[in-house]
Symmetry: C2
């Protein structure tokens, strides 16, 4: 099954049903299917070669969803560009992926104009305008010019063809483009649609951005079963609560930060949340006390967590609703990220690739049809991470006697704050540029709201001076705002391991001591 | 995912749990996994080439299930042989599939001895003995000789490798061997496990034979999710009711014949059937009045039907529990076999391959990863039935405005009685051998218990005489007992179409007139 087959199926089986809601606009599956066909035929009309990249820079809107499916149908490759990145990072991604088309929301016009000279390979710009429409580069006008019939391109497509390059923060600094095939995406879609027992009556509110896997997969699993997707832009808890009540939302995927805010909302009890069957929380650490509080407030079997990654097109491990318990033997498993997701095989191995014994720490590796094809134009990183079909996640974990996996550390030097991956090294590289800095280490420290927050530990040069605020402000000039340190601690000298390298594990130990859920 | 991966996963995630029950024997997933490994290592020890055929002739027993998985793990191909066939048919299948190993239950020893000279290609015989064990050809002794470690054979296997040849009655008389790959079987397993929302807590009672797809797939879908399979030999309704109550069975797959007997059982109300979530009924026609009665007695949302076939490794169309209703708009859909199963695309097309309009009759065709590789050593039949990825089922149907499919006739001249396919032509060929017979046509006619029963319509030669019983007895000498006509009607001459061929559709019309569910 190709991604393009999904909406055709939906149009056939659930044609008149509202499949997608974006503000005041409600699209039936037939309408959505036809709009996607129009845009796909438009891409065909541009004469793009099979496999050409189409970048999309947009927050959640129906046009982004349409573009995703249209690119897939036309045999092209979609490159979602996070709208939270700096313009430098955006132009890097568009240049590195060699995108020849850019679809963007009008709100980013100024940013695009500023980097236009840096992305000479983009031949076609399509602007998603909310108000006045028209013009050669207007998304809606472009789409309306083409036929709503099924494009013929599907015939030349194979399930192993690439359909997406999704960039993630790399531990080495530069974003890495994860290449996924139709089969990869469909495999995860089947896995998570199955894991969550999605039925046509399900309704999800898309809180997370569609340019992120956490927004993409809930869309896919609901479309896969003829459910309904309601788009939301942003994480405002009151809006979420209003939508759940009004639209009878059954499924939410939230980063822990949003979940913690939701259960802490003073008016939580005033909303009717009966329709809500599952809240998936994942993508970042959560304090055990917070998930217990959430279960106490909303019901223990309403929650689901797991371990996923862009390289796995989604899920690897699952702790499903029925295994969420406040009392009894299953309560012990709550700090875990569960066991192998359906259709995925997971192992925790030592450096020699042998399964670790119970209680020992090893690296999580995963195999399945969902595991990505590799990193775009990064053969070395690909060879290191994807070995004989096994994704090496870099996440270090223990396994208990029942096979439940507990993450203890990340092998790769990454911080996850509010669901966003941040490379420690990228932040350290910036801090080192500050003239007063002698040594610097950046780690993630526990944060009740964000899961982790970015902390810099700095040793200044003898005789030099710098305040916490100066270091933070300095970082802001070179990094996306969410990557800057939230706090800076100063030491005379950073602790080192016997090889003379900064002993980060030791630093983390200080800040994480006594936490039940480390990551 | 290969079939062999399933039990390894089960052993890892549900090791101590009882996965399989056969009479007094209860096997945990770990035990089952290790027994399968032993047998697979035994096959490797025999030095069989990859893809060699292993025939199994057995009623439901744990050894059959083990053999199925061991053959798959060892990179071989399993050939299930129906125990209801005549010895002629059995030796045809073993010869045609060129099986080099035969695993059989002791009960069939005499039959095997009788055809041993006809199956010279079988080099290894393994006998499943229930009592005294031992000897060179003893299944259990053989298995116990080998290691319980994972065989290394998996590495050389590909999901597109053949894993099974399952023979079905062909309309042309000779059984056809449907070749399925690991991927075909896994695709249907995922589809039906998903369709039925199978969870690890599910328990199925295997009423249908494991050598038939109707017994194979429920086993697979429960093993796939770490559920439990209880083997039963035979269709005795009282035994079924006892097991459901005692073992808290949640899922049953029944042919309509058995379902009708079950709901007609005088003691039905005395059993506690609360655990039963789903009764799947399929594989043969059922009278609308009977399924309505079943829903009234047991609850309307407990039933599930659809359309499947061996060539589809299982399911193509599904009418799930939530679409089973006695009242309201969905009640109209009850005579249908539903809509496209998950992961399967179905169309109803005319002779030119175009989708028929609503209400028009066309042939059901289906596409998906579950569609078989073709027929073993029958390139012409393969080319005719499997075209560009589409299985041409030979089932003729109408589609309503919501996409629900209603079967109206079979293009291929087949009768389905009690879930068994019977070729009209095969029976006609035998009747023609009777010296008194001038013309003969064999059709399926409505039967409340069997769905259809075999009826012969015969015109005798002028001056010749033969009674109904004589014709039936004559057929018994040449055919498996279930294929013989249950009744014979005599006409002076059979009705013909303009081309001079017997007008079977006209004959069927006479017997089926006024039935709401034709097939």
């Amino acid at each position: 099954m190709l991604i393009g087959d999904m909406l055709r199926r939906d149009a056939k089986l659930y044609g008149k049903k509202i499949g997608l809601i974006d503000g005041e606009k409600r699209f039936s599956y037939s309408e959505l299917h036809h709009r996607v066909n129009r845009l796909a035929n438009g891409f065909v009309g541009l004469g793009l070669e099979k496999g050409s990249r189409v970048a999309v820079m947009a927050n959640n809107c129906h046009e982004f969803v349409e573009a995703y499916f249209a690119v897939a149908k036309a045999g092209l490759v979609v490159v979602p560009v996070s709208t939270r990145l700096s313009t430098d990072e955006m132009s890097y991604i568009m240049g590195h992926s060699d995108a020849s088309v850019l679809i963007y929301q009008e709100a980013f016009q100024k940013g695009i104009d500023g980097i236009r000279k840096d992305i000479p390979q983009v031949n076609y710009f399509l602007c998603i305008r909310k108000g006045r429409q028209g013009g050669r580069d207007d998304y809606e006008s472009f789409l309306q010019k083409f036929s709503e019939d099924e494009p013929k391109t599907q015939d030349a497509l194979n399930e192993n063809d690439m359909v997406m390059i999704m960039y993630t923060s790399g531990a080495t600094g530069k974003p890495k483009g994860v290449m996924t095939s139709h089969r990869n995406v469909m495999a995860n879609t089947i896995t998570l649609s199955f894991e969550h027992h999605i039925v046509p009556e399900d309704i999800t509110l898309l809180v997370m951005p569609f340019y992120h896997n956490g927004g993409l997969w809930p869309t896919m699993v609901h479309f896969y079963r003829g459910g309904r997707v309601i788009l939301l832009e942003g994480f405002d808890v009151e809006t979420i609560l209003n939508f759940v009540e009004k639209e009878k939302v059954t499924f939410l995927n939230l980063v822990p930060t949003t979940l913690v805010r939701l259960i802490s909302h003073p008016d939580l009890g005033k909303y009717s949340l009966d329709s809500l069957r599952t809240i998936m929380y994942a993508g970042a650490p959560i304090a055990l006390s917070k998930i217990r509080e959430a279960m106490q407030k909303l019901g223990e079997h309403r929650f689901y967590t797991g371990l996923g990654s862009t390289e796995a097109s989604g899920s690897m491990l699952s702790l499903p609703n029925r295994e969420h318990a406040l009392e009894g033997p299953m309560a012990e498993k709550l700090p875990s990220v569960g066991r192998d997701s359906i259709n995925v095989e997971v192992r925790v191995v030592d450096a020699q690739g042998r399964d670790v014994n119970i209680g020992e720490v090893g690296e999580i590796i995963a195999k399945g049809d969902n595991i990505a094809m590799g990193y775009w134009k990064m053969p070395d990183e690909t060879a290191e991470t994807f070995r004989e079909g096994w994704l090496h996640t870099g996440d270090m974990a223990k396994v208990d006697r029942d096979g439940y996996v507990y993450i203890v550390d990340r092998k790769k030097d990454m911080i996850i704050s509010g669901g966003e991956n941040i490379s420690s090294k990228e932040v350290e590289d910036v801090i080192f540029r500050h003239p007063a800095v002698h040594e610097a280490a950046v780690i993630g420290v526990p944060d009740e709201e964000w899961g982790e927050s970015v902390k810099a530990i700095v040793a200044l040069k003898p005789g030099s001076k710098a305040t916490e605020q100066e270091i933070i402000d300095f970082c802001k000039d070179f990094l996306s705002s969410f990557k800057k340190p939230k706090s800076v601690d100063f030491l005379d000298e950073l602790p080192k391991n016997p090889a003379g390298k900064v002993h980060k594990a030791g630093l983390r130990e200080i800040y994480w001591r006594g936490r039940e859920r480390k990551i």
